[in-house]
Symmetry: C2
Subunit: 289 residues, 2 copies
């Protein structure tokens, strides 16, 4: 299965699951905002869940609720990140952000409810026995809370207010939480659902997540805002340390390339079946948005 | 066991569990804000978890993680409710609210992470088998998300902006989500953990939750801001419909009294063992904060 087909498959399956999960909700602005924010995007995290499940012998259709869960969680984080008190972004995926289209209160609440929905989706019996679903709940909580994503976010905000720019080690630590933890959870989820050792997937995803963030920093400098669907050049304008400011453009590209090679190497035990995940790693640093 | 002793016991046990759950977190403002917001309060929801567990033959000490979970969730909801874009409150439990003491970004993130912590606490193996813990995760998600607490919050915000005041039926529906759902989850949790039918506890808690909110509306008019530790008279000043504005002060008191009688009646099957929960219902309408 080619990466582009697998990504499109994941996007369709995740969207259908999110739609059905939100179908019975009340007809109120906060629910409209939830649907709006949970619509579209690359669905890279959902793809990783489905593809890692396939690699471990599971039918991707059976694990869609886990893919939808991580995408609901990602959507919540974007709504809150975009708030005026956080990154203050008015454009996301080429559309007005939730607090612009509705208001800040609706944005806070829609994000809150999407986080809740993520944990609810992991309770779906189709995913397997209670033990494995609970393991996913626990690991998603660790990946997204004050030890993972939220910690990364908090460190990022602190960095913006600091007078001394971050070092490479500090930015790597920050990004391991901010974007790395959810990417890693996604790649490990298939192994966890199959009762397999997630260590190799974890190594793959750690390299992938960092490559993803370096690529983001490169795009922030070289990218096309129309293709990206969001404002670019913000980090440089804010004088913020990034992988590009610390390594230079060529250095950042070389580091991202090395990380993709690391990600590929981690998948060696899986043989030819891992080709789609390897393509995904190459895509992450070649993408234009 | 007297109610006041049981409430103090619950407060101590919940605080200890929350402290231990947050002990290993990074030394950053968002974590300090989490601890600050998760400190103190009546711990009524935590008490309901512990007491309903005791009533169903469980050792309260074994279910403290579930009590801590609902208090973490409640703390998150208060941080976000207090934000300038929501209720815009600067005082809570007699202290500055999180966005006043830190800033709005820290308040959003601390609330986000406390919600995550709530679900993480429900994964604690001490609570029992995976099936029962997962049942609590699923029911807490339903109680707190866009079908429960967040829906109530969203309806409350919509009501503030509406030109026509809410009817009694509409306010009752709103409050069933905003405060009722978590109170009900708390009272049912003990039965769920014991593998018992939670129906009677559900009836008790539905009446209790509504009585609690009517008492809040009464306190907003008659209360002492120093004892309450927050601003009062806000609803009347905003011309918002409340149980008091719709039923009058005497009518609201009579309705709250009738609900407490309903709550007591629901506990009849439990006999004398339910005395502490009956005392709790009486406390809810007699309290001064």
């Amino acid at each position: 299965m080619s990466f582009s087909y697998a990504l499109a498959f994941a996007a369709g399956a995740v969207q259908a699951r999110l739609d059905s999960a939100m179908a019975g909700l009340a007809d109120v602005p906060v629910v409209h905002a939830m649907r709006y924010a949970a619509h579209g995007g690359k669905r890279l995290r959902g793809f990783l869940v489905l593809e890692s499940a396939r690699l471990h012998g599971l039918d991707p259709v059976q694990v869609v609720s886990a893919a939808a869960a991580v995408e609901a969680l990602h959507a919540y984080s974007l709504i809150h990140d975009d708030l005026p008190c956080m990154d203050d972004d008015d454009l996301r995926r080429g559309l007005p952000t939730v607090h612009v289209k509705w208001d800040q209160a609706t944005a806070v609440l829609a994000g809150d409810a999407l986080q809740t929905l993520a944990f609810e989706l992991l309770c779906d019996p189709v995913l397997g026995g209670a033990e494995v679903r609970l393991a996913l709940v626990a690991s998603l909580a660790r990946a997204s809370g004050a030890e993972g994503m939220v910690l990364g976010q908090a460190l990022d905000i602190a960095a913006e207010q600091a007078t001394v720019p971050l070092t490479l080690a500090e930015i790597t630590h920050l990004q391991a939480g901010k974007t790395g933890a959810l990417i890693r959870w996604s790649a490990e989820a298939g192994a966890v659902l199959a009762g397999a050792d997630p260590a190799a997937m974890g190594r793959y995803a750690t390299a992938l997540g960092l490559a993803f963030q370096i690529a983001d920093d490169i795009l922030d400098v070289t990218g096309d805002a129309a293709k990206a669907g969001k404002r670019l050049g913000k980090d440089a304008a804010a004088g913020k340390a990034t992988f590009v400011s610390l390594l230079g453009l060529d250095g950042a590209r070389a580091r991202a390339g090395a990380l993709v090679a690391e990600a590929e190497a981690a998948l060696t035990p899986y043989g030819a079946g891992a080709e789609t995940l390897i393509e995904a790693a190459r895509f992450v640093i070649a993408r234009e948005h």
